[in-house]
Symmetry: D2
Subunit: 347 residues, 4 copies
Amino acid sequence: MSHSPSSSCAAPLRVGIVGLGRLGRRHAEALAFATRHVQLVAACSPVESEREFARGELGVPRIHADYEALLQDPEVDAVVLVTPTSLHADQTIAALRAGKHVFVEKPLALNVEDCERVLAVAAEHPDRVAMVGFVRRFDPSYQSAQASVAAGEIGRPFLVRSQTCDRNDPDGFFVRFAPTSGGIFMDCSVHDIDLARWLLGRPKALRAFASGTIALHPGLAECGDVDNGLAIVEFEGGARAVFYASRTMAHGHETSTEVIGTEGKLLVGEHAARDRVVRSDARGVGHAVLADFHERFEAAFSREMIAFVAACRGEQTLDLTLSDAVEATRIGVAITRSLISGQVAPV
Amino acid sequence: MSHSPSSSCAAPLRVGIVGLGRLGRRHAEALAFATRHVQLVAACSPVESEREFARGELGVPRIHADYEALLQDPEVDAVVLVTPTSLHADQTIAALRAGKHVFVEKPLALNVEDCERVLAVAAEHPDRVAMVGFVRRFDPSYQSAQASVAAGEIGRPFLVRSQTCDRNDPDGFFVRFAPTSGGIFMDCSVHDIDLARWLLGRPKALRAFASGTIALHPGLAECGDVDNGLAIVEFEGGARAVFYASRTMAHGHETSTEVIGTEGKLLVGEHAARDRVVRSDARGVGHAVLADFHERFEAAFSREMIAFVAACRGEQTLDLTLSDAVEATRIGVAITRSLISGQVAPV
Amino acid sequence: MSHSPSSSCAAPLRVGIVGLGRLGRRHAEALAFATRHVQLVAACSPVESEREFARGELGVPRIHADYEALLQDPEVDAVVLVTPTSLHADQTIAALRAGKHVFVEKPLALNVEDCERVLAVAAEHPDRVAMVGFVRRFDPSYQSAQASVAAGEIGRPFLVRSQTCDRNDPDGFFVRFAPTSGGIFMDCSVHDIDLARWLLGRPKALRAFASGTIALHPGLAECGDVDNGLAIVEFEGGARAVFYASRTMAHGHETSTEVIGTEGKLLVGEHAARDRVVRSDARGVGHAVLADFHERFEAAFSREMIAFVAACRGEQTLDLTLSDAVEATRIGVAITRSLISGQVAPV
Amino acid sequence: MSHSPSSSCAAPLRVGIVGLGRLGRRHAEALAFATRHVQLVAACSPVESEREFARGELGVPRIHADYEALLQDPEVDAVVLVTPTSLHADQTIAALRAGKHVFVEKPLALNVEDCERVLAVAAEHPDRVAMVGFVRRFDPSYQSAQASVAAGEIGRPFLVRSQTCDRNDPDGFFVRFAPTSGGIFMDCSVHDIDLARWLLGRPKALRAFASGTIALHPGLAECGDVDNGLAIVEFEGGARAVFYASRTMAHGHETSTEVIGTEGKLLVGEHAARDRVVRSDARGVGHAVLADFHERFEAAFSREMIAFVAACRGEQTLDLTLSDAVEATRIGVAITRSLISGQVAPV
């Protein structure tokens, strides 16, 4: 994750966006209108409507239907990959070999082997930035919590409890997506896994146990997936983590994380208040809830792009490394194995 | 509020309850079943069903229809008056003259003159306890807050914001009660006034301004009352208080008090959670709300009786004095004058 | 848990307390001073100071050093056992055989066999009440939550997350107690286990997995115990539970439980606010925390005794049965086996 | 606040910033880097270091020391005035007469006459946007609350309680600024006044009463100002408002507003949590607090500029009008008169 000192601080970074689905558009708009020191110079998508969006709405000058063409474009310094997970590893490798910096959405891959292939290629290109989108690390609240832990404010941290819980989608869109998602733990908990490692000081994971249930979406049974999953991970040195992932929350998107130490604990994100309004009426006292992770992590998505740009321009190093992404996949794979076997799985 | 050292610590206090309406029954049950060192030996009410309740449900041996008869009863050490406000002053005086300790519900009287008559008689009976039921002083949270203020934890307190807000009663029972209640400030805010003086260290009140509105109960206009009232009180030395009283809350009973000092502030009772349950569902995240002051101050009503009994038995002195009750009425009267005149009123 | 219709509703229940340690004294005081329809007529303890307390402070007329003597006392209708866990089963059986109703503190026993012996004897005495002290069931917040679940307000409940977390005791008193406590799950989580079954509708437990760590008290290693433990339990029909027990909280006693259903979730007890006071000062905004379970469950301990008395007097049946206590032990034992073996344990 | 239909939707708005103090820089950075459809083409300041900042950090091409020069610049479509309050009225008038759209920081003026002069000139230039920076209207939480009120969710709103409370500045910088600030109500409460009118449906204000105290900054006495002020405002039709302004909070910046209606109430901003982190340690459970209004209203400042740009480009009309600013000053002036006279003041 090092970077060349020859990166010019003066010139803006020229970025090409790859994939303009919902999350891709968000990244593209941030790059086009709300990030300093960057120019969104190119866009790539096999989908005509997405290319039209880039051309018309964002005013992107260079439009490609083909990823290879984008990589050949000498006016592009960096690529941002918001593509299907199955493409992540190979596209990242190709970008690095083409001399581009690369940001790739999480997870890096659904198996450890692909992750390690990327790691090996990245090691051959130490002057190129390769960053995986663990966006929760760039959320102001998570950053504040991690800084407190690092400063010793809760003593020695030894337990993380973390959840990614989505509002139920009655249409069950994600059920159709399940066969390629890698399962609930690879799709949702990979964020929690990364946070747990980050907050606990990157201990080595030893074993995992998982259990799940299908509360509302029986269609998941076909591919061995569940809509509510629990996992315990044991780390070397005694630290532990518990993860909970759900697709069936009634109230909204509630992503939260607790880190417990010998002198205190920190809890990030509980209750998922949409804003600073408290309502009191005949139904009681309460507040509205965040709809989804886009709403929850709006600021974090912006800061993530700012961090990527700063890293590419050599202004700042990243605490988040490719190795972190590999370890998150390694643990997620072990948890998934345990879910399927019903037994404790070595990591 | 002093007491005779000859009070025996060993013998239980023998109490007669006067008035067995809703609040009277609560006090009577507390005395009969849940307070140590006390015997509920007598009950008095002009209402047959109330006397029957005392006899049958509480097993009270001495039942009187007439207050004078109760006062003549040599087996009664103390009386607890839960009677209409218009009777408070004279009944308190009669009890003291009969040699009884006396607990009287708030307010002591609706005018300052009656309060001062009681004060004068009490001064002639320094060995009898006379206590007014400012129950919020006995609530654990208010006691904790006051102790913090007294310990200097918020520096010098200079502002109190306090409210007594009842859930709207669509039947408007209190409208019929309005002509004799003394108005919203005498009926509701008298608690807040007492708390403000207590928390601010009993400064002398100088001036008051009040304003009100009728949100839902036009019948109040006839007797010059409002269903939502605001008041500012200025104290000598610079301290200030703001009071809010409402009969029209949609969500429940929300009594709260904030005391602000030079080094911090304390807020008691906001949001009026009924219990420790948080609900998350399609309507958001929230909690149930207290229905009324009975539910809010259940523990305080018990502790209030315990404090009265302990004072009568000479085991403890009361921080809450008759003078406090006189001052609360004095300020309440000035606020009410301001509401009617529309101008600043001297206290 | 049935009761004889011949129980007189009129006569107060005559109770003997057995064991007057901290919790025993609390029960005894509640019975002596704050519970209707009951007389604390006897006390039993092998400890002279405890007998003296019962005689002097509580005014209990019949004092026994020997449990057998108490059971022979014809003036005693019911016994309340607050004795070491190792005695619970035999003392309960002896009480039933002596024709007494019996309340016994949790857990009923540390092994399933002892529980089943009690169950068998209780079955022979269907007119005697036998109740185990799962006090959290009598807490107003837990009762409200369970009523909501039973009323279908959160749809079908499928997951419980529950914790019993004590404030760290730097002296580590519990370390010396560890060899006989049955371990952290039997000592603390047994409450959470009972709640999970109650909230989920008493499904049959199938398997358990546990993992733990020692954060602060290395002395626990000797007896195979931990000071922080996690467990997942799988139930027939798909429901799941996650338990967390800790001896090392920095902030206080935080017992909380979340029950998640298909249409919402309920969370009981988070953040453990000591009272209704919010403080704002240079350190931020916050509140004080409950010190221990005595403070948290003060109201529940009273209600628990009221429920026991009412059941003995035939006025009400108990939802909490001896079978519930057996199942809680059965699950607790399986969790403990998993902690020791490191593998999934059948229940 | 109307706008010419001839405003081109295509061309970006060319803006000149006037004044580059702390808040000016924030606006300038938002315009330069984070707002679509706008170009920051000019900057104006009498201070050399501010001009240098605009040139060097923001890359602004046209730099002026003199406001008149900026107004003559034909490449400037709109000006953003972040200048001393005493200049607001005349600079706004000059901008309108020069054919520019104008955004001016609040308050529009410290007296009603100046406000009305601006209003008259604006009426002569109906195709130019003139907007006053009541930033709280653009905060997502305030917008959500106002939308709920407008949708009838709390019935008929009849009471607003609103506060602007700053963290105490031990250096008392604002004391030196006091003689020209217009006093605490004109400086701080003008926001609350505007919100109250907005939430209550713009009723006509009739009377005001104010009271204040000096808690920590005796230097304010010289200019008749206070560091803690309270005010009640009466509106035609029965609505009421209570304002609290403070310079002496120990914990941080806590701006909050409650609007109470016949069927519910909404509370915005209480407790001023800095982020989504809850800390539990030996001091209790709590959270960090916002430092100042910059931190609290970061998102609102951005949205405010976006709204100004959209209005200038004819894409959207503004709910916030110049008349609103005039009325806010009118009420603020009446409150201030009452503070000084000690009597009720007509508005």
